[in-house]
Amino acid sequence: MNRLVLVLLFSSCGASTDQVRRTFPLEVLVRAPTAPTDSGWTLSDVRGVASFASVRFFEGQVLITRRRSPLDWLVSTAHAHPGHYEAGAALGELLEPLELNLAGGEPATWGTVNAVTGRYGSVELGWATGVRVLGTATKGSESVRFDTGVLAPTKPLSAIAFEHTMTTAEGTVRLELDLGVLLSRVDFGKTLSTPDAQGLTPLDRASPAFNGFERGVTDTTSYRFTWQSN
């Protein structure tokens, strides 16, 4: 009888996933563009700043678009379905701001993430002051020293893929910011502006070039999160 009770207890407990508190370091690496942009511009001397406020890790996997229902405005509870992105439970967060030097180099430490074990699916990046990129774009005999100006997204960048089963194993999460993807849609021939006194060409906010910059900044594939085992 006692053995049966134990078996039942174990079988019912076996389905549960006990989360364990843990921390892990988050490092950031900037990848410089290595290929020409979509419109054929080769980029060099790329630098600037990306200013983040926070990182949050969630269990929801990144999939695809969902049909918007008028009831969405009335129902606050999120239902998780395959094919939809629903953030789900928060599994970790880092609330220290980061001023990331986009000139690149070695991986930089952002901070220590307070987290729990579990199955991770996605990340949300919170912006501080936003992102600004400068550099030189060259196509044939044409050269443009550009300044995107500061783009400050009004809402966090959510649904960045990060699929990893987080255990208590030692390791680091790495964020790679890929400037090649981020700038790939910018056509530097369509800035709708002229160089300033310093020879820098700003991207007019109404220009196709700035439109491409905004799309690159909000393209979640510009940001790659990976687990690096120790």
Binding site: R67, R185, D219, T220
Partner: protein
């Protein structure tokens, strides 16, 4: 002795294997495909930008309907492929399977081209069209706003598996087959997804950018014309690509959206995977 052993085995098997049950898969394009997608009016969903769309053909090939348990053990799989015209009144049966009555967590299907697809409710000429274009989906219809009508006839060769299907509203994974009951599962197709303006997150329905793509002004919007429209020429905040890489123009965008049309029992979802 042998006969006794055989009987014992049969009794044992009968005791361990659940009785056979039947699951019937149907497909339906809902009112959006059968009747059209209206302009948004108040709380009523529809196009944000004043357009309305009706389909005259919505041809689709469904194949590989599969019922498997949580361990991936396949209980039943649809042989061959079938072609449907979802503008015709549905739901229409796709495949009926027999399987032991129990829970099946892994149910999936595919929308993919197939040279050997069989006709169902589809005209022979439309089946031939699907095959000649090597298409999985063909949509023919028109969009109207004010006095302007723009026709479209688009073919897509995407092959997409819809895996791990799950019912909406916490309805659970796959299907549960019950003794003595025929269970019906609908492979629902969402025709409005062609016109979503986001590849991730919440989306609105828009046609304005597609209408403006009609470069030669013949009131027919072709996929080639959509390919000319770079997303960077469209208003910021519209046609965001989220986590989908290498989507640069409206043709890329609508082709990517095709991968999201397959659903499960209405608003239920599957995990779409390219094949």
């Amino acid at each position: 002795m042998h006969r006794f052993t055989l009987c014992l085995c049969a009794v044992t098997l009968a005791a361990c294997e659940p009785p056979i049950s039947v699951v019937k898969f149907t497909t339906w394009g809902e009112e959006y495909i059968e009747q059209g997608i209206p302009t948004k009016m108040g709380m009523e969903a529809g196009f944000e930008d004043g357009w309305a769309v009706t389909f005259t053909k919505f041809l689709v090939i469904l194949k590989d309907v599969t019922v498997a348990d949580g361990q991936g053990q396949v209980a039943s799989k649809q042989p061959g492929a079938k072609a449907f015209d979802l503008v015709k009144k549905g739901p229409v049966e796709v495949y009926a399977a027999s399987a032991p009555a129990k829970r099946y967590d892994k149910v999936g299907y595919a929308i993919a081209p197939d040279d050997n697809a069989e006709a169902t409710n589809i005209e022979a000429s439309d089946l031939a069209l699907l095959k000649s274009r090597k298409a999985s989906v063909i949509v023919v219809g028109s969009a109207t706003k004010g006095g302007v009508t723009k026709a479209f006839d688009w073919s897509f060769t995407n092959a997409t598996g819809y895996e791990d299907c799950e019912r909406a509203e916490m309805g659970g994974k796959g299907v549960v087959l019950t003794v003595g009951q025929e269970t019906t599962v609908q492979l629902t197709v969402h025709g409005d997804h062609f016109f979503y303006d986001q590849l991730g997150g919440d989306a609105n329905l828009r046609f304005e950018a597609m209408a403006n793509a009609d470069a030669n002004g013949d009131n027919r919007v072709t996929l080639d014309e959509l390919a000319v429209v770079q997303l960077t020429s469209l208003p910021q905040g519209q046609y965001g690509t989220a986590s989908v890489a290498n989507v640069r123009n409206l043709r890329d965008f609508v082709t990517q959206n095709v991968r999201t049309i397959g659903h499960y029992d209405g608003e239920g979802e599957c995990v779409p995977r390219s094949r």
